[in-house]
Symmetry: C2
């Protein structure tokens, strides 16, 4: 343990918690490409975005100049109920792997939503409340985002309608109940409550739903609410990466207290909310030339937007009602094979992360197999005590791989990964893993090729 | 918020965590009545207890002289993975209730077992490992204890067989998977793997099982293991109250840092593990005449051992294979009506708590209705963010009642309650509560009268 005694868990004191979010766009070298209006295909203006998002969220979506944006008091007070999250030194995992590497993880699962999603949910709910809106609409896949937004809307007394991907709705009835406990109205998607849902349901093969479809339905309901409601998204967007920066700021401060700094930063990446948040001020250091951590994004083989997608403008949803974003994408019509990491089954990737990857600041993307991920998850649970969410276990898998490389090379690297959440609602998948009946999803290649050809043709 | 700014959450630093457990028996005024050998009905000697429990646990079971007992390093290191648990100031609940009372809770749910049970599980597993035993057996009702012991045995590489009450086994398959993830072998009880199980199964009405039956099976397997295994129990026993004292010691130290002391201490009580732990050093203060906190034990109407039971010697299990304990009991053949707080469905009460209640140091026991408990749970979840276990929600219900009394009287009392765990595996019950189909269990009176007459006749 070296000279100093590093504790198992490091918590910041309440008065050391961040008062501002970090907006990485202010430091990015490449001009960030705007969202496009889906009708005009011209850069979306604030007033157009305000039809979809709350006013302040629309402003944050467009803000590429302020490096720091104040966290409102009401949001900070809510953060105090479940944050700061612990920075954990994985002593037991290190011992189990017999590695000279020092492994840290930032654990975001110690709240009832079970993940980091609450960090942005409470901000988006707050701005909606401030604006005098009646409520929000959203979609959810694995259910973590829907739960988080249900908690946030419950707290501020806002209505919430959640379109939940039908296969999750049927597989995880507890998730639905949890959202209901916080007062949310939960609808299985595709549904007959929206035009886009009815259209998609015309093909019975679409019945099990997808995140892209659920987004289309939630956006439609918000847009047709006569201005009373707005739509809220838990990933991909700039505003989400902004709110999630609280993870990276806390991590960096806690490591500073320990006189540590990561050589490698590892996060799972679906839409990018967790990785974007975890990187935040570490990426700032890199962009400003003050440090050079090596960043790894981990994605599932079955939905590999960074490793197999193209960097292009695409819709954020299947129904093509959302603005278009410049991002790594598998095509908005891409239907990922069923996997147990629902939170990573999204065809696109945060435009911020996409640009950073394209420009080489996000050093590497690595796609991993589901069976390997669950093996890593079970190992981790047994030695570190925490049952990880399947999404988070993608990062665990690569952290273990990197730590074992250190064992080979003898290097004493400092590894930081994001443990985004817990797997209490994924035990049916753990059961399969234990029984040896979990299989890897089929390779995504064919579907990618098919959907790439359908990317919108842009004329710049 | 008064002169000082009291944070939402107070964590002790790792080096402030307790190095010793507190053994309340050393300060108790009344001689603690021994466990009796079920065959001879004479006070059980160490060597007799060692046939059931590990050697050190047997010694702790009998120890009524040492006020403090050292926590082994290996156990303290494991504690560091999930402890210290936060002492939370319930600002949002206070505001919601508009009460002048200051409400604190000690939250023990931030670990994968989902409850405080891990505090004793890891100690019992450690002593078994130290003795060179091959493994442990146990029972579980709601599943929290079984999960905790599975985690602890997985950590130390011990075998574990868990007899899980069949109605829980069928209602909560996820709990079973969680225990399996940590390597435990889980059997629905009553089963045909034991003599007592087969005997009890002769009456088909017993098929859904009970905690008392599952204990009988687990003890039988341990006793017939040729000395390779011992039995482990998550509540009732003196050793468990000892290990759980970590809750109260941490609470007291954290409050001390805030310059606070509770006027009222509230805990739910099934077998007594949580309440016994939460009271610990606060009870020491009372027994030594240094302070006079008011203690309230909260139990379900459907299984009210303190409020409706008798103080007598009784078996700890239905099959009458365990030692007899002097305790408040509803009779070992008492079958509580089905309720959703499985962890409180036990016919007896910790002998320590029973004696303290009998002697008036535990001031009050209060039985509450299931529907009121779930109403309190949903309220709490919405304002404080945490989804409580149904067991814990018993304490919440009474904490709210006491805070509302303060609102009436204008008193600014300081209330501390134990939030023992989370309700992720109890969402089927929340669903009923939200749908308005949850009902109160029938009154226990008749069953109590019937079983009282069957209490063992003791001759002292």
């Amino acid at each position: 343990m070296g000279k100093r005694e590093i504790p198992y868990k490091t918590y910041l004191a309440e008065n050391e918690m961040p008062k501002e979010w970090y907006n990485v766009r202010a430091d990015m070298k490449t001009d960030h490409r705007s969202l496009l209006n889906p009708v005009t295909q011209q850069p979306a203006k604030a007033e157009e975005l305000e039809a979809v998002f709350s006013r302040e969220c629309a402003a944050q979506e467009l803000n590429d100049s302020d490096a720091y944006i104040e966290i409102p008091d009401a949001v900070r007070n809510f953060y105090k109920m479940y944050r700061p999250s612990p920075l954990v030194r994985a002593y037991c995992l290190e011992k189990y792997l017999d590695t000279p590497a020092k492994i840290y993880y930032k654990f975001e699962g110690n709240n009832t939503s079970g993940s980091h999603k609450l960090n942005s949910a409470i901000a988006q709910a707050y701005y909606a409340k401030e604006q005098g809106l009646k409520g929000l609409t959203t979609e959810t896949g694995a259910g973590q985002w829907g739960t988080a937004l249900a908690m946030a809307c419950g707290y501020f007394g806002l209505d919430l309608t959640v379109y939940m991907v039908r296969c999750s709705y049927e597989q995880k009835p507890q998730r639905k109940t949890l959202m209901r406990t916080y007062g949310a109205h939960v609808i299985a998607s595709p549904s007959d409550t929206t035009e886009v849902g009815r259209r998609i349901l015309e093909n019975p093969a679409n019945r099990s739903g997808s995140l892209g479809t659920a987004i289309s339905e939630a956006v439609e309901v918000a847009m047709k609410s006569g201005g009373e409601r707005r739509y809220s998204l838990g990933s991909v967007l700039n505003q989400v990466v902004l709110h999630q920066s609280v993870i990276g700021i806390e991590s960096r401060r806690a490591m500073e207290k320990l006189d540590e700094y990561p050589d490698i930063v590892i996060g799972c990446a679906g839409g990018g909310s967790n990785l974007g948040g975890l990187m935040s001020e570490f990426m700032r250091d890199k962009l400003r030339g003050n440090a050079n951590p090596y960043f790894i994004a981990v994605e599932p083989m079955s939905c590999p937007s960074l490793t197999k997608g193209v960097f292009a403008y695409d819709y954020c949803d299947t129904g093509k009602v959302t603005p278009l974003a410049m991002m790594y994408t598998l095509g908005s019509s891409f239907m990922p094979a069923t996997s147990h990491a629902g939170g990573l089954r999204y065809h696109g990737m945060s435009p911020i992360i996409s640009q950073l990857y394209h420009d080489g600041y996000l050093d590497e993307a690595r796609a991993v197999n589901q069976t390997d991920v669950f093996d890593a998850a079970v190992k981790f649970a047994r030695v570190e005590g925490i049952l990880p969410a399947p999404e988070s276990a993608h990062a665990i898998k690569v952290a273990i791989d990197e730590a074992l490389k250190c064992k080979q090379s003898g290097e004493e690297k400092t590894i930081l990964f994001g443990l985004t959440g817990t797997g209490y609602f994924d035990l049916y998948a753990y059961e399969k893993s234990l029984d040896g009946t979990l299989s890897d999803a089929p390779p995504a290649q064919d579907a990618i090729e098919a959907s790439e050809s359908k990317l919108p043709k842009m004329d710049f």
